[in-house]
């Protein structure tokens, strides 16, 4: 009886930990967002970029984007909301819009085309995956001696 209670308690503990882990996995998923203020073509329609967009997240300005500029911010979780301060033409008064987005769980780096988003187009029009174009240079593994101490260039050449 005591053993079965102990076993039950252990199983319950493991299940609770697994449930917390699963919850943390979803809640804590981080995304890097890239905001583009660029004109684009979508289904034969041209969407013009406004003169300037200021992006505010949690009351803090994270990007100030003129045409063809890109800004970035990070977000934890799949719910994301921001305030956009849009200035259509150079001397226009800015208009503020509050926007909430549901971010795709599986994508780390998301590019959001703000003009397309503001036009109310489909998700596939304003969301894209950010792919870094520049390949990192290969990192050389440090040469170490039998004590694990890194060798200098001279010592390496001496073998």
């Amino acid at each position: 009886m005591k053993n079965s209670r102990r076993l039950l308690f252990r199983i319950l503990t493991v299940l609770v930990l697994l449930a917390i882990a699963a919850a943390m996995y979803v809640i804590g998923r981080g995304h890097t967002l890239y905001f583009d203020n660029t004109s684009m073509e979508y289904n034969g329609q041209t969407i013009e970029a406004p003169y300037r967009i200021d992006v505010y997240v949690g009351g803090e300005r994270v990007a100030k984007l003129k045409e063809d500029e890109r800004g970035t911010c990070t977000n934890i979780g799949q719910k994301f909301s921001m305030d956009l301060e849009i200035t259509k033409e150079k001397d226009d008064e800015p208009v503020t819009e509050h926007i909430s987005l549901k971010l795709p769980f599986s994508i780390d780096n998301i590019v959001v085309n703000l003009p397309a988003l503001l036009q109310g187009l489909d998700e596939d029009a304003y969301y894209s995956v950010f792919v870094p174009l520049v390949q990192e240079p290969a990192e050389e593994e440090p040469q170490v001696d039998e004590f694990g101490i890194e060798l200098t260039a001279d010592e390496e050449s001496m073998g």
Binding site: Y25, R29, E141
Partner: protein, 385 residues
């Protein structure tokens, strides 16, 4: 009868307050207080800067050092095997970084991932330490090197090739193995910043301190549980504990498992404060510095309290902060200060161990003298009768 009365009065006299005893019992903390008292004015640091730094280090290190208390309670000495838990915590952080789980949820997930690894390593360590009773410290020290080899095999060769690692930012360019440094930027000081308050330029990481306070309460509560009492009994005398029906070996293994799991959590708290993980070296010195800090706080191999932890962190890290600057001012070379603080941490461990051994031998010889005196008194009584 009168002889017995005289003998029982003697220890009472010894138990009374004596300045010499106080100094002898607290040699290491007193030494550090003197070092700090000399170095602080020489370094020229402002009080607010010093308090800020100490507060940061208190939050960063206390949890790790608290993890050392339970094995001491079980008579297993200073657990150099806490490095095993630190490695488990690091593995948790590597996975969490790869899965892009950020902030406090990332920390919690890393802690949960570290638990099974810490438990497995703790059981292994505990079983080996049971085979090396009386030599636990040196065994756990060597054990940490052994597991470090396995850790390096896993992290350097299996991660990315056998264990899936997706992100190239943490993978070596060759396609497998983890880079020397893993960025924890999205986790950096998230716990410390939670509920943080600023009092006269001193930032107090309230959430971290709450976690540490809860840990202290847990230790106090644990000491009063059946398992905690068993551990104390095992720590006092294994033979007597065995005779009293306590499963000594199991109790010792549990104490090491608890310490390893807590060290894993402590390492995660430590690294979130640092903001990056040195994959192959973060854990290597952590055991040494935590043990040194605990000893600086006045703990010994067979006795340590929560007070020792906090006093140790404050004194040891004050020395760590001021030594390089003081060294630079006194000698004109800051490297001397750097060497000094590393040298001191090793020296403290050595002094504490030597003092412990000396005290143990002294007690043993006193007990032998006492026994001899008792036997002589009993012989004299027998002749008189």
């Amino acid at each position: 009868m009168s002889a017995n009365n005289k003998q029982s009065a003697a220890p009472q006299k010894k138990g009374g307050f004596s300045l010499k005893n106080l100094i002898l019992d607290n040699t290491v903390p007193i030494m550090f207080i003197v070092i700090c008292a000399i170095c602080i004015p020489v370094s020229g640091f402002s009080p607010s800067y010093l308090i800020n730094e100490i507060m940061t280090r208190l939050g960063r290190n206390s949890f790790l050092i608290l993890s050392l208390l339970i094995p001491i309670m079980a008579g297993m000495g200073l657990n150099f095997g806490m490095t095993l838990g630190a490695m488990a915590g690091e593995i948790g952080l590597i996975f969490v970084s790869d899965w892009q789980i950020w902030g406090i949820p990332g920390m919690i997930l890393a802690m949960i991932i570290s638990i099974p690894i810490s438990v497995a390593l703790g059981v292994l360590c505990g079983k080996i330490l049971n085979q090396a009773k009386g030599r636990e410290m040196v065994t756990s020290y060597i054990m940490s090197y052994f597991i470090n080899g396995i850790y390096q095999l896993v992290v350097l060769y299996l991660m990315g090739s056998v264990i899936p690692i997706i992100h190239s930012s943490i993978k070596l360019p060759r396609g497998y193995g983890i880079r020397n440094t893993v960025s924890l930027l999205q986790m950096r000081q998230k716990l410390d910043e939670l509920l943080a308050v600023n009092i006269k330029g001193v930032r107090i990481p309230v959430a971290t301190l709450i976690v540490i306070a809860l840990m202290c309460l847990l230790i106090v509560w644990f000491r009063r549980t059946k398992l905690g009492q068993d551990m104390r009994a095992v720590g006092q005398d294994m033979q007597v504990a065995e005779d009293a029906g306590i499963n000594v070996e199991r109790t010792r293994i549990i104490s090491i498992v608890i310490s390893t799991v807590l060290a894993g959590f402590g390492m995660i708290i430590y690294l979130q404060n640092m903001g990056n993980l040195s994959t192959y070296s973060s854990h290597s010195q952590i055991g040494m510095f935590c043990i040194a800090a605990l000893l600086v706080g006045g703990a010994s191999v067979d006795h340590a309290s929560i007070g020792n932890v906090f006093l140790g962190v404050i004194l040891f890290h004050t020395m760590f902060i001021v030594a390089p600057k003081a060294g630079a001012v006194i000698t004109g070379d800051s490297m001397i200060g750097e060497y000094f603080r590393v040298f001191v941490s090793y020296a403290v461990i050595t002094i504490a161990l030597v003092m412990y051994e000396t005290k143990k031998r002294k007690k043993k010889s006193q007990a032998a003298e006492q026994l001899q005196a008792d036997q002589q008194a009993a012989g004299a009584d027998g002749k008189g009768a």
